[in-house]
Symmetry: C2
Subunit: 275 residues, 2 copies
């Protein structure tokens, strides 16, 4: 994602927890720093992309974090998938330093990141969004401001419900076909032309049938995202039975030692049930 | 569907349980008969389209049914959604009369039928399929022979799992957004551009958000189709937890007195849960 910014002519100011993460930038117009605070002191727009809420909090608000180096007017964009509540908290804590915060989680996986075809779902103030938009457009194909702080994360939660439920449903359909003596390859082809069409049936379904469970998007990350979904459901007071089922299937998948495979390996959990 | 055949220049020989069903054919090159047996005596390819397995059995094998009037070499095509097992039974019972049987359920709803854009999933012998194919192509856009007798019905069962799970997941995503104070219209727009894309999110999702629950495809018919899915899952020995959940949501929908609405009214069941 950062390489696309460099390719578009932007100077990069970099920090990473693991030095090897910076290896791809050796040929770029890029400078490395010793802390998030030092980066924050140099830039107008600062991106974070880490695994979970506590990581974002540490980078932004921890010792030598972004908030301790930021100049007023800085726009901080977190592209990690974290809870809407943590996103809103980050926005409030940074506002004290006159720093704007956008939650801007992405969908599209490793491939979307490499090909700059990500879907980027943004929450935060409209003015801050307008500043960051040209940069988003270097990294993604569909860039949408959903609403106020946290709204990007809510949209991402919705995305993960749809993709997860899609994977479970496609897995079940293929297994019903197989166990009924019918070729799931033929079923998939027929269904792609009708109202059952989905990107999950098309792209993920193809890989399931080829037995290709390499990530893509790792199961443990989808499990983490469904934890966020179910937490948010609890806070918002909304029952999500399908999402709850997907969440349990991901628990079983990670619990089976397959957390490093793609989350389409939900197929294997459902297959094992009736094997 | 039959009107598309007439439009393509085929002479229609018609019978219907309710005379009013034949009203649209008054302007066509069409002749009405007093029983399925009389129709069967006139035609090379005979189509049935009724609600459920017992209806198909009555029309094909009952008194004055197709089998009592059929000439050897007749191809009977049933486009109803019935169980794969009933389809295979029909094929065997008609084979005694040297009549070929194709199960050819469709997906695409009323709109697909009117616009001749149906997905048609066919099970049965390849030679019989080749005879009927030009006629299928008058009615549908995606016509696929899935495999032997019953395979079309298995594919349709898979289709109904995907559409039903899609409706449930989209409903949950929209309600999570709404209850989290985020506009589901914006969420839908953003998600259409990414890996969460599905026809259900696109077409059905739009109607959900507009509050348009007119059929389309009636809830009680989807409930019946999910009964077939779960019966087939039992016979095939495969656990389908997502499909089972969809089936329960449809039970609740029909039980709430909303069986005549579109099956996207699953949205209302899920909404009511947290209202």
């Amino acid at each position: 994602m950062a390489l696309h910014l460099a390719k578009a002519g932007h100077r990069l100011h970099l920090w990473a927890r693991r030095p090897e993460s910076l290896r791809p930038f050796r040929e770029c117009d890029a400078k490395e720093y010793a802390s998030p605070a030092e980066v924050a002191a140099q830039v107008d727009v600062l991106f974070t992309m880490v695994a979970d809420g506590p990581d974002v909090s540490a980078v932004l608000l921890g010792p030598n974090g972004v908030s301790s180096g930021a100049r007023p007017g800085l726009v901080v964009v977190d592209m990690s998938t974290i809870s809407p509540e943590t996103a809103r908290e980050m926005a409030m804590r940074l506002a004290v330093h006159k720093v704007d915060f956008l939650d801007a989680p992405v969908s599209g996986g490793e491939r979307g990141a490499k090909e700059a075809t990500l879907t980027i779902m943004v929450g935060g103030k409209a003015e801050a969004y307008e500043k960051a938009r040209p940069l988003f457009e270097c990294m993604g194909r569909t860039v949408t401001r959903i609403g106020a702080s946290g709204a990007g994360q809510v949209a991402k939660a919705c995305n993960q419900i749809l993709v997860g439920a899609g994977i479970a449903a496609v897995s079940e359909a293929f297994q019903l076909a197989q166990k009924s003596g019918v070729d799931p390859v033929k079923v998939r082809e027929a269904l792609l032309g009708g109202s059952a069409y989905s990107k999950v049936l098309d792209l993920h379904g193809k890989r399931m049938l080829e037995g290709d469970f390499a990530p893509g998007f790792k199961a443990w990350m989808h499990q983490k995202d469904m934890r966020i979904v179910m937490e948010q459901a609890g806070k918002a007071g909304v029952a999500l039975p399908t999402a709850a089922l997907v969440s349990q299937l991901l628990n079983a998948l990670v619990g089976s030692g397959l957390g490093e495979e793609d989350s389409i390996a939900i197929y294997k959990v459902l297959e094992k049930l009736s094997a």
